[in-house]
Amino acid sequence: MYKIRLHEFEGPLDLLLFFLKRDELDIYDIPISKITKEFMTYLHLLEQLDLEVAGDFILMAATLMQIKVKMLLPKDIDEKGEEIDPRADLVKALLEYKRYKEMSEEMSFMESNMRKFNYRGNYEEDSKQAPNDFETLLKNITIYDLIKAFKKALMDRPAEPIHHIKKWNVSIDEQMNYLAAKLKDKNSVSFLDLMLEMRDRVRIVVTFIAMLEMVKSGTIGLRESVTLNDFFIYGINNG
């Protein structure tokens, strides 16, 4: 029986190259009848094995037979008056394909080499710190960003349908003190976290104004957070 490994051939060109190589045939003087016969035998074999023959192989078979017929007819003449070899296009295609097949072998070698290198596996423990230079930090924060974060804080609060009339039980000064105290304990606080602690809309508004006051007087600074909808407040005195 034939021993055939179908996947050995990447396509009809590959198969033809195989025939040429095996029989040591001259690629510039392909014995077209012989090659066509071989090719057809292979196709029949595929059919016998009940394998679906790819269209590309059938197309090549047709091309080969066409060349075979043309070889028997008087040759076409090119503009220089020379005979055109009906095999010319096929030869060109074979050489072009062979060229890249060679490169794929080269690349397979490169692939093997690279598989021996291993990259770093774990980045979690790296020390990272959002830039804390005042100038750099505010570079990308605008009033719009502030408003947006503020709005988000208000919007994300669960709705409270019951309305009470409340006294203003909070002042800007109080909230400035509150913020200052907050920042004594920690280096910085997230604006969203700060807002989540507050249930009262008035308190949020007042705290926000207090925060703006403190930015203006230079006692606190703001810096953007990795999640773009938040920012961090940090004290300038305690660094």
């Binding site: 021993k3 590309d56 090549m60 060229r99 890249y100 794929s104 290198f117 291993n118 990272k128 230079d133």
Partner: protein
């Protein structure tokens, strides 16, 4: 350039999970230390060479590779078997012959269209192309100006990383067709010498089993695994 940046550059490369371009390193330093920091891409390049020399001298297990337009730390090949033993990622499959062939054509001819690719390979390449797109080794870059405006394909940064290339220009030069021709005989000789041993064996085996029409169609008995 201040030598304090040696350590910063090492840290930035060490902390980057993809090859980091020298420009990004320079940008980070300038952004934090002021644009008057007199550091250039060439300084980064030089530092990387110095670091590599140092790793070599100190017998470190890793080195900095210059690939995919940037720098990345990687273990030296010497330890591949140990790392491979513990890592599942490294056991991933190699690319198939079809994929390599297609990649070679895309790499050298890019940007190119699917019809161009298929005319060189001589086979329909939808499946292979899809595999390569999935693996992020190839991507779509736009459309050709030709009739029908077919999509154009190019290789990716991941492609460079996979094959250890710094840029596409680092690909080995393909031989000119004339050169292939010249060498044809030589390759053939070499091949025949190598193959003859194997073929004889194969023939022997066969003659023992059954002697129908002979092994004419038998391709080179190399890879036992590529059945389907």
């Amino acid at each position: 350039m201040d030598s304090i940046y040696n350590s910063v550059i090492e840290a930035l490369i060490f902390a980057s999970d993809d090859p980091i371009p020298p420009g990004d390193i320079v940008a980070a330093i300038k952004a934090l230390d002021g644009s008057d920091s007199d550091i250039t891409d060439a300084d980064v390049e030089k530092t990387v060479d110095e670091l590599n020399t140092r790793y070599e001298q100190n017998g470190n297990a890793f080195t900095i590779l210059k690939i995919a337009h940037g720098f990345v730390h990687a273990t030296k090949p010497d330890h591949a078997k140990y790392v491979g033993y513990l890592s599942t990622e490294k056991t991933k499959r190699r690319l198939s012959q079809a994929s390599l062939e297609t990649l070679a054509i895309v790499a050298y001819k890019q940007p190119l269209t699917k019809p161009e690719l298929e005319s060189i390979r001589g086979v329909n390449s939808d499946y292979t192309l899809n595999t390569l797109l999935e693996k992020n080794l190839v991507t779509i870059s736009g459309r050709a100006e030709t009739v029908g405006r077919p999509l154009l394909y190019v290789t990716t940064e991941e492609f460079l990383k996979y094959f250890g290339l710094r840029s596409i220009g680092d690909l080995p030069k393909p031989r000119e067709i004339e050169e292939i021709m010249k060498d044809e005989d030589f390759i053939e000789q070499k091949r025949r010498i190598m193959m003859s041993g194997i073929e004889e064996k194969a023939e022997e085996e066969e003659s023992q089993s059954e002697l129908e029409t002979d092994n004419e169609l038998e391709p080179e008995p190399e890879d036992e695994n590529t059945i389907e």
